[in-house]
Symmetry: C2
Subunit: 189 residues, 2 copies
């Protein structure tokens, strides 16, 4: 039986629907990617995850591993590539898994979805799902990697002070005022 | 009885422990922040969330709302301020809730924790938790906001092509090659 990190596909689809809102094709593929990365990684120490995209993949990571955005063990460096690395949090050594687009030739519906070759309405959702389950890890590639220093370990806040402009606490390392008061416009005036 | 988005505190602590790994003080406070923001927001249309920190708060959002990092309805713009905005995804109008550090005077253990005034070992965890529950929404501030355009709506990928350098799919808007091949060093060579 096909499993994703020990869950049946149906179980995983249910988990995804509850968390992500709907069982997007990208997140089912993401489940296989997380499964493969955990299978291939060496060592059994604590690990962290680096996601190279903000779309779908981070939710599979958060569902299937102890690593979340808010606890800092999952980081996102958005190169836009559909890939993740699972690595030892001390050394950075680990494995990178990506979707290998060149392997999609045998899966026309996945190929059309991935490269947005047809409008959503024309996609054959049932066939797409069937191809994703048939393909499983067969459309993935992997390589050993050593994650660079800036992505290792915890994103601490460092010292905190009150911003002289807005009065809210902010990390002192950002300068003499918080980034928002420094000109980053999150809100309209 | 104190509730957090309809959950008892014990239930929320259990949800947090399962997802985030441990019931960090910041995520319990985050729960009250999400609760207040949803209470104050006007309108009943679909909403999105903007988090101003990557620490703790995003996990409370992901647990208590339909908005996750991977589905794009929660965005993070890391000003380092402990704040979030819940807003209408079409207009950007909504409410911002922040931890008002000036209200911490009556809660010495929260104050010491928030400003890292003593080493973790010297923190009185039990007292900290008691103060957090006693304070509830009493240490928060809020204001109506209109979230700026760049943070509204979905982060689409746009057109995708194969990077001539690594051969992986990447968003064409990033240029003639993917960001990683363009020099962003995620991995050591």
């Amino acid at each position: 039986m096909t499993t994703i990190c020990g869950h049946s596909v149906d179980e995983f689809v249910e988990m995804v629907t509850r968390f992500h809102g709907f069982p997007a094709p990208g997140i089912i593929i993401s489940g296989f990617m997380v499964d493969l990365a955990l299978e291939l990684r060496r060592g059994d120490g604590l690990y962290e995850v680096l996601c190279e995209t903000s779309v779908c993949l981070p939710d599979a990571v958060q569902l299937l591993t102890p690593c979340t955005f808010g606890n800092g063990w999952m980081k996102v460096a958005d190169t836009g590539r559909f890939a993740l690395a699972v690595f030892d949090k001390r050394t950075g050594e680990g494995v990178r898994v990506h979707l290998d687009a060149r392997k999609l030739a045998h899966y026309p519906e996945i190929n059309a979805w991935f490269f947005r070759l047809k409008p959503k309405k024309e996609q054959d959702g049932e066939r797409l799902n069937a191809e994703i389950l048939a393909a499983g890890k067969g459309i993935l590639g992997s390589a050993p990697v050593k994650v660079a220093r800036p992505f290792l370990g915890h994103h601490g806040m460092g010292d905190t002070a009150l911003c002289p402009s807005c009065g809210e606490a902010y990390p002192v390392r950002d300068g003499d005022r918080c980034k928002a008061c420094g000109g980053w416009e999150l809100y309209e005036k």
